[in-house]
Amino acid sequence: MNILTDTLAWLTDPSHWTGPAGIPTRLGEHLALSGVSMAVAIALAIPIGIYIGHTGRYARLVVNSANLWRALPSLALIGIVLPFTSAMDPQLGFKVYPTLVAMVVLAVPPVLVNTQAGIAGVDRDLVEAARAMGMRERQVVRQVELPLALPALDSGIRSGAVQVVATATLGAIFGSGGLGRYLVEGVAQQDDGMTFGGVVLVAALALSVEAGFVLLQRGMKK
């Protein structure tokens, strides 16, 4: 019961809702880190996914390596990137960059694989019909394949986003901002209220991201 009251006390303390270490700021950092890396990952993965999905070229190679890529563990990945970024920039290279790079690297494969599968999964008869109507390849992609592949794209972006939100949390271990800071600091200072408050915030964020994309997908299927 102590944990519950400690957590509630921590979460409802007005001083935790203002300032540079306040919840809105940390949430903003978390969302900014996640948003930037998702934007980069999407910009890289969707065009490639469309290309291989539409042409069928390199499909096996790309999908197999992307599947392997997905098994990369996030913490170790940040650890591998860190020595390189810190060699380039001794200040930020030890803080935000390794996490950002790892987040992009982890978000590309799910988006890529799902885009490819979505595009390649469009009924070939439809594509042939579109061609027979005189559509050019570009139009086939834009007007037929892409709209039909949207639910698949959404689920790829969803997997990527959930992974990215989790990795942003881990970034706190390496001195980047975000809600993970409450976990790292709470554990270090043995402050159960802060630790558990952080758990509530991080879990709520991850689950709302997931739920948001699920709802979006439902909307698309209607």
Binding site: R70, P73, L75, G198
Partner: protein
Amino acid sequence: MIDWAWVGDHLDDLAWRTLQHFLFAAIAVAVGFVLSLGFSIWSLRRPRLRAALVTASGVLYTIPSLALFAALIPVTGLSIVTAEVPLILYTLLIFMRNILAGLDAVAPDVLEAADAMGYSGRARLLRVELPLALPLVIGGVRLASVSTIGLVTVSGILGDRFGGLGFFIFEGYRHSFPTEILFGALPSIALAILVDLALVALQRRLTPWAAAQPAGGRIGPAGAS
């Protein structure tokens, strides 16, 4: 960039942390497998229970690992239980999806034939359904092992007694010492690859009739992070 003298001085530590890493992962995968097998069999012909269990394990899977480790500290302290429970919970979704998919894929004709031959429900499950589901089940073991080996590093948040090779990532960061970080991160990935290769070999042996399935094919996001 790499300080080889440090590596030479710490070979013992590296070996011991590798062993710790392997053991932490092995315990979680074994316990997770037994639990999931139980849940899968229990819920196989109870659609509502099955949906509830899969949803619950999916929700747990979505929660970032750092939060799940931290969540248990106020409850079970800085102990092996706190290190193992999240690892076990993350395997549940992977195992249940694979075990249930394997059991679902058994052809109705096969089940009817087994029934006609007089198999009881339990004997049919043990001697017909589970053996046929084996390729997907082992696929689940591969995926769960690789993902768990990745996650063991995060348990380093619980202090120096935990984390396996992840210990070096945490300590290396505290000391701003890239060599140590790399020698935590790279061997942990190598361990995952080795274990996966060993499981592929086992898979070929146990189910020579099924071509080895690529890891990562059965589940959306590969590992919790």
